[in-house]
Symmetry: D2
Subunit: 367 residues, 4 copies
Amino acid sequence: MSANSFGRRFSLSCFGESHGELIGVVVDGCPAGLKLSERDIQGELDKRRPGSTLYSTRRAEPDAARIVSGVFNGYTTGAPICILITNRDVDSRPYEDFRFKPRPGHADYTARVRYGAFNDYRGGGRFSGRITASFVAAGAIARKLLARLGVEVYGHVCQVGGVRAERAPTLEELKRAYENPARCALPELAGRMEDLLRQTVAEGDTVGSMVEAFAFNVPPGLGDPVFHGLDGDLAALIFAVPGVRALSVGMGFEAPSMKGSEFVDEYTVSGGKVVHETNRCGGILGGISTGGVIHVRVAFKPPSTAFKKVKTVNVEAVREEYLEPWGRYDPCIGVRAVPVVEACLALVLVDHCLNQGVIPVVLRDEH
Amino acid sequence: MSANSFGRRFSLSCFGESHGELIGVVVDGCPAGLKLSERDIQGELDKRRPGSTLYSTRRAEPDAARIVSGVFNGYTTGAPICILITNRDVDSRPYEDFRFKPRPGHADYTARVRYGAFNDYRGGGRFSGRITASFVAAGAIARKLLARLGVEVYGHVCQVGGVRAERAPTLEELKRAYENPARCALPELAGRMEDLLRQTVAEGDTVGSMVEAFAFNVPPGLGDPVFHGLDGDLAALIFAVPGVRALSVGMGFEAPSMKGSEFVDEYTVSGGKVVHETNRCGGILGGISTGGVIHVRVAFKPPSTAFKKVKTVNVEAVREEYLEPWGRYDPCIGVRAVPVVEACLALVLVDHCLNQGVIPVVLRDEH
Amino acid sequence: MSANSFGRRFSLSCFGESHGELIGVVVDGCPAGLKLSERDIQGELDKRRPGSTLYSTRRAEPDAARIVSGVFNGYTTGAPICILITNRDVDSRPYEDFRFKPRPGHADYTARVRYGAFNDYRGGGRFSGRITASFVAAGAIARKLLARLGVEVYGHVCQVGGVRAERAPTLEELKRAYENPARCALPELAGRMEDLLRQTVAEGDTVGSMVEAFAFNVPPGLGDPVFHGLDGDLAALIFAVPGVRALSVGMGFEAPSMKGSEFVDEYTVSGGKVVHETNRCGGILGGISTGGVIHVRVAFKPPSTAFKKVKTVNVEAVREEYLEPWGRYDPCIGVRAVPVVEACLALVLVDHCLNQGVIPVVLRDEH
Amino acid sequence: MSANSFGRRFSLSCFGESHGELIGVVVDGCPAGLKLSERDIQGELDKRRPGSTLYSTRRAEPDAARIVSGVFNGYTTGAPICILITNRDVDSRPYEDFRFKPRPGHADYTARVRYGAFNDYRGGGRFSGRITASFVAAGAIARKLLARLGVEVYGHVCQVGGVRAERAPTLEELKRAYENPARCALPELAGRMEDLLRQTVAEGDTVGSMVEAFAFNVPPGLGDPVFHGLDGDLAALIFAVPGVRALSVGMGFEAPSMKGSEFVDEYTVSGGKVVHETNRCGGILGGISTGGVIHVRVAFKPPSTAFKKVKTVNVEAVREEYLEPWGRYDPCIGVRAVPVVEACLALVLVDHCLNQGVIPVVLRDEH
């Protein structure tokens, strides 16, 4: 599998750089017969694009998606779907300074070691959060496929710095998460998060965050252990999102502190079906969906871009130097990453639905 | 990629069930010319096998490894290396009860949904922690390859229930981690962990845990972004280990609570080389090794097997029933998982060393 | 994908050497719920094993297959199925001579360049035709799965040296192909082939051959273009069989000499279904099955092992030397390769049936 | 591996349809540091594009390649390289007739079975020879990489209908193969081939053909048996080229008629190196390059498009109907396929050079 491709049955091949001509993705394995328009893609992209929330970079990108293959007469054909998103607001001048002076906390230095002097350092190149636009574009197709099964994926920001969720949001709350600038589904928390974000921006600092995502109505039995369990596949994809530092499934972060008698989810019968009474496992056991709500949390670091002077090294001269504060950045990754985490979860679920025949290779009913 | 295969350049194909005839692994992609004997494998397996620590299942398995292909005259040939580990102490009788009454917290139920009535439920079948013996066997080869580069991997238990590490262990401490029954490298903590383990066993309960692992002397520049970064590949592999619920790279769990100004690792020059002054990123930036120590933590749930009666459902009759407490189990996964996490980290590192030519396909110097 | 693994949905990972302890294969992706016993495997292996025909090596191998994982209570579980075949009649002494003096026409030299001095040269090691026992073992499972759909695969020897088939055999003739020592389905040819084989052995020479295989009742629409068409996948697998030098689909060898007006297969309606009037395309168009009989031919070189002295080079001394004639060999590959080609065709068909959901991941009806 | 991706280390993901907006390819795994411009790509594309020879379709396509990612300051960066080729001369009207009446010999029917009514049938859609423009574009990069090692790939048309080569061309002849309209490197044959092509066009018919390709200066030891030998990988790729019906390595087509004593290539010493005295094996033994010239032949069927009326079936009405002769077509695939076969051979060789570290992941010397 090549470095920029992901997925066994519904696979994406991503390309493009932050300050290159465009960002794009080829989705291969989408069933024939899905009604698909650029509007379907655009709706998801709009949630992620800069400016979609107050607390994001000032880079102004319309992120307009064009489908250039794989769709004919309004339906997917079964051929690979290529989606292109042109970069518009590219200002590479501030980045010249980073060519030899890597920004601490960014991949500038490791990319230079990995790819030599050839790495495209402008705007972070391939390491920019901007590449996740292609995940979201592909995820939009995944979500349309899942909707046919009634599967819905929702995310929100559950932590910003010291402000963190103490409870799970309801489905209704999740549906309104994008309505507040912090994208927190919990009404009692959203305001405090917003305050913290505002204060962080004022201080010229940035702040860490956590996004949690839920998938509802997932059929039980999805997953391909041992190396392609739902959680393993999701983990592989999530760590491709810039800024991710930890992933938890269900009560993952809390599990080490708990006793077995507290953690176990017992079974019961409800509506003639076997269900878990509780969902500490986050809807995945042994890499396979339980039929309960899938629940994952993703920890993002505070962005390393900041207004304050930082120490770095000139990699050519091999001497310490300082970097002046630089331009356009997001103060908090989580706020813009909500649709990205949702997309990742949707992509993995669709891959497994196709893997097990839950979604067929041709959707004969749609036509 | 098939469900039971992992790795792009140094790949393992695993097979075998907990109560079947054997457990095994085929390692493909190992360079020709590595001196390798069964003793090399056995040394690592002995760290994981039941009975290697007081706090493990009473199942008595010698876990004797046999190399049946890929080695000739004491050296690897470049052909696939098959390693077989025969199961000896198999007592499947207690598991008959679980055929229709899935154990809560185990994969009994999800496996039945996924594979129908055909799933081998004896001892957890493919979902048993026993399958990680094959990871450790393959990891032993990986560690021998890494040793040629001076790369060393060490792990220990950094948390059991409420007892958790407040500092990182030194390399010297890590080297002695296996000397105490809790496998905690911190002398100030090991005794308290052991007390907690003893008490947990006495109560017939189990407890969650966390394992952390470190890789020293990793060359900078390893990783294949965006989808095969070091962290992404490790995440994919780690979630195949039964009981894993969360993974963190560097200060991953803490990142959401931090400010950018606290989190960033600045660069400096040391011995003529560019290095990080701090290592909050855990040795990986943008999916690529920084040259610093790689640091990951893995959260394990408390084992679901216990002495106390639990509620379940008879899946044939679709009615609630109770399961009597059952037999042989580990009270705390982390204690036995230390060599498994070490193996996973070693496997991913070797895969990337091969991917980038840091380790050649033939080791011409060894002969 | 690792070097010794093949298949996307029904994948095999092969291992073992000609003179090592054993030959084996791990089949991953087999649906749960297939009734499977060692006898099913053995039946196919017996067709390939040395001594199954007069015109084969004198090496005496029972080729007894053991299933050591993935089957429980007589049914496949969905877990990887490992099959082991122990080597019995190993006489490596004659091969010491080949360590530094590669046999012309064998892979002795190229393997030494590829893997250094570490290559296992005994009996050809990984390059021996013996490795195809693992293809046949896996193919036996594939054939059982195909039988559920009514798909049947048959092969025979259609050419030995100058004796070649001028017509296609009937299904009835194909079913009796194994009854004559030349394994030629055409009664008018079998005797002449046998004469040629006998004469070739008498002369201490070997002879080239061609095997053709047919698949009947293949559902139309199988194939995953552009890079995983039925023909492309089959080609990739067939060229792993030692001695293969060419592959043709339908009238492939003849196509360059033909006009379009002679070659085209027109459509007609038969029994309410669209069918081809002729089948020059060999049942595959655009990489996808037409619903007609699949027809492929595989050209084998004459084995390079012979009774006559040949010139080679001592690779250490880098000087010309001669090799004395050596031991046990097959005078004609095709005769023993019939079950191998059948297995390859069956394996590719099953992979695609699974890929498109024609065979489900659990066979719920068998239990 | 997804259906439209090929290659393990130097991989291509192809997309686009004959009458869609564009054709494209994402090349992933190209080393950083290769000097690359659109002119490099264009030079190869120009050899394949319609109108490059008299005997091709009248469709007028400039086939102008645009590199939209992966190149920065004139050098490859190590990131995926996306190349787009816009379709200009699209006239889909004649194809409406084929929607329900599949053209015999084309994939119209099988594609409809495979993808349902959603398949893009215009101009053959994904099944058009036009998709090979993306192979050639990717192959241009591969050839630049190979040129660094002195490896050169040349092809020519060695057979058209009854006119066939009786000898191998010299390197000098191969270099001039594109100078005559039949693209036959043998001066004594080119004229006769051209006559046959002219006559075929005059008759409104088409003709089969054979392309042979050679790779010079290939280092010995390339190949990854058993399933990724050089020949197996090439076979998998070649069968993705529309119209291919057979592949032969070295004396593959002739091998079944030969004796072992005639076929074997003996070794000798030349210039202090081990070489083959003859090259009947076509430069590949056991899936590994011998260091001799690689020689393959690819058989193409006569194109099925023709001026004459053919019988087909209306797939909706399920009744026989006739198709009037249709528009723009190539009378002989081989003439335009020469650069495609060359590209395929170059792509496979580069993949293996990368796989074995013969080409490094960063070309530090170029900058």
